[in-house]
């Protein structure tokens, strides 16, 4: 198992490198000279050159790419054009909030998704199944930003149950976490339901029944673990969508996270910050995927055997 994890960690390196190159390239070809934006037209050529060097904007594509990657290894992600702070420092401030939001969201979505999906499948065609299948369809089609706005409107502005901004108490996190997780919760529930439906028709479930095992034990001991195999992949993929969704949700609920920082920076064309934000989240997502894959191998002995 350790060998497998080590192998996966090694495989992570080219992916992260690739992500860096792609994100860097996209930002490189982005039109508009930040020097113009910062200094205005009236600045002297000398001043422009100085700033260019200071921001690391001098040199050709490869020179700048290698410099960027080199700096990245030292934890240097450039300087924000707008605030002149190092991007890395700003990430250290904002990332914990995004992490917390994502973690709360994913916990909610996994708990909700697995429970609802399993019950729906076991009690197929029941009222519970119909109601939650409907809710999950809506959840799947609903954009997180719209859901966020609706919740804000209903619970903060109209009912005043929750505060609209500020993050001093756990209460503040409920709505954003729900918003960020709802879409994934719906998808995980749908996936669990269909996977579970397939599994409970499998022959080995009939075998368990033929042994005289109780229904509840069959579901928990025999079905769930098998049904989880495809669901775990979904959870991993949903995590990506969920972190992505936090970009939108953070700006609705004014969460001081990476997403909000990025959206603000796009508007002010502060590209080093956007670049840093994308990289941070992509790196985070890669680690999550690694954890999911290890989990996957843990659940499915057939996968584990391949890496012995």
């Amino acid at each position: 198992m350790l060998k497998y994890i080590g192998k996966r960690l090694l495989m992570l390196i080219p992916v992260l490198l690739g992500v860096t190159v792609i994100v860097f390239t996209l930002m490189y070809i982005t039109p508009g000279d930040p020097v113009d934006a910062l200094l205005g037209d009236s600045a002297t050529a000398e001043a422009r050159e100085m700033l260019r060097e200071q921001l690391g904007l001098n040199g050709g594509y490869f020179e700048r790419l290698f410099r960027y990657i080199g700096n990245l290894l030292h934890g240097d992600m450039g300087i924000s054009y707008a605030t002149k702070q190092p991007v890395f420092t700003r990430l250290l401030e904002t990332f914990p909030n995004t992490f917390k939001l994502a973690l709360l969201g994913v916990t909610f979505s996994v708990v909700f998704g697995l429970t609802v999906g399993t019950i729906s499948a076991v009690k197929q065609y029941s009222i519970f199944d119909y109601v939650f299948t409907f809710i999950c369809m809506i959840g799947n089609a609903m954009s997180s930003f719209w859901l966020g706005l609706l919740l804000l409107l209903t619970f903060c502005l109209k009912l005043r149950w929750f505060p609209a901004s500020g993050f001093s108490s756990p209460k503040h996190w409920i709505l954003p976490a729900f918003t960020v997780g709802f879409h994934s919760a719906a998808n995980i529930a749908r996936m669990t339901r269909s996977s579970m439906l397939e599994v409970i028709r499998a022959d080995y479930i009939t075998t368990a029944r033929a042994k005289g095992q109780k229904e509840l034990a069959i579901v928990i001991k025999h079905a769930l673990k098998n049904a989880l195999i495809p669901v775990v992949t979904t959870i991993g993929m949903q995590f990506g969508a969920l972190i992505g969704g936090s970009v939108l949700v953070e700006s609705i609920f004014v969460v001081p996270g990476v997403g909000k920082m990025m959206v603000d920076s796009i508007k002010s064309r502060d590209y080093p910050v956007v670049q840093g934000g994308v990289l941070a989240i992509a790196f985070f997502f890669c680690i999550v995927n690694l954890i999911v894959d290890v989990l996957y191998a843990y659940i499915d002995p057939r996968i584990k055997a391949q890496y012995k």
Partner: protein, 324 residues
């Protein structure tokens, strides 16, 4: 039928209610198995054999399957009237089942010994360790080393998996063992080994067996009694000798015509013409009449009744009535 019957099925009718219509899987079926006897249930794919035995275990998928009428008497008690929790005590302990495909009938995420031990611990008040020891004994009984118990199903070959399934089914020493085509999914050489193993175990344990198969060779080797099924009905029932030496129903005769005989001079096989009827739209009358060479008008109009043509030999055909 006589009194020392372990299992008696009376007028069992099972339907599948699907969007395409009602599938008449089993209609007015009568069968019985005596203590220590082995019954062969023979028929083509779709004849309703699996449905019949799953009705005994009450493990039909409901919906869409529905047991419409009939009784299944096991030791004199109607299984269809039993509450689910009583039924659970019977499953695995008194009646157990070996499934057709060993590839899919073991849980891929649980070590095999735990799957055997599960059956043991459910029906015996013993500790987990004791159940594992007994599960290990069962593995050795079917010719698998005890140490391999902690392996997962995917680490076994098909024949080995079927041995595990057999061990699991016999773990609680059931009175009735149902084997649903236990060798169909296996290679021919492995088939022989598994069959031999089953034969040994059946003999030493005095277990009653229902053996589903469409291989008449297996029937000849193992069974005491034979029931031939066609389109959800038993068309002929009797002792092994009666069926093999004196088959009466045109379908049974047809089945024997499909077996190559090494010693016969005429080597051409005689297939039964046509296909099994669509179980949603059964032809009416005798279900076999569209394919029967001897069919007359009566066959398409009236359902034939079971006729006892000699002691213990029943045939479900109008032709038999004519002979009287």
């Amino acid at each position: 039928m006589s009194e020392d019957k372990l299992l008696e099925i009376k007028d069992l009718t099972v339907e599948y209610r699907t969007v395409d219509g009602v599938v008449h899987a089993v209609t007015d079926l009568n069968l019985s198995v005596g203590r220590g006897q082995t019954l062969g249930l023979v028929g083509e794919t779709g004849a309703g054999k699996t449905t019949t035995v799953k009705s005994i275990m009450r493990i039909l998928p409901d919906p869409p399957a529905k047991i419409v009428s009939g009784e299944i008497l096991f030791e004199g008690e109607d299984l269809l009237k039993k509450p689910e929790n009583h039924m659970r005590e019977i499953r695995g302990e008194k009646i157990s089942m070996i499934f057709q495909d060993p590839m899919t009938s073991l849980n891929p995420t649980i070590p095999v010994i735990d799957q055997i031990a599960e059956a043991i611990i459910l029906h015996n008040k013993i500790t987990k360790e004791e159940s594992l020891t007994r599960a290990g004994d069962m593995l050795e009984l079917v010719g698998i080393r005890r140490e391999r118990g902690t392996d997962f199903p995917h680490q076994f070959s098909g024949g080995m998996k079927q041995r595990v399934v057999i061990a699991m089914a016999l773990a609680c020493n059931p009175q009735l063992l149902i084997a649903d085509e236990p060798t169909t999914a296996l290679d021919v050489t492995i088939q022989a080994q598994v069959l031999e193993l089953m034969k040994d175990i059946i003999k030493t344990r005095d277990t009653s067996v229902i053996m589903i198969t469409h291989d008449l060779g297996i029937v000849a080797e193992i069974c005491d009694y034979v029931a031939i099924m066609y389109a959800g009905e038993v068309v002929e029932y009797g002792t092994l000798r009666q069926i093999f030496e004196n088959p009466k129903h045109p379908y049974t005769i047809g089945l024997f015509g499909c077996i190559p005989d090494l010693y016969a001079e005429d080597t051409a096989l005689i297939p039964i013409k046509g296909l099994m009827p669509d179980p949603v739209n059964l032809p009416g009358g005798c279900n076999f009449h569209p394919r029967c060479n001897h069919a007359c008008e009566k066959c398409s109009l009236e359902r034939p009744k079971m006729i006892e043509i000699e002691p213990g030999h029943f045939v479900n055909c109008h032709l038999m009535a004519k002979e009287d």
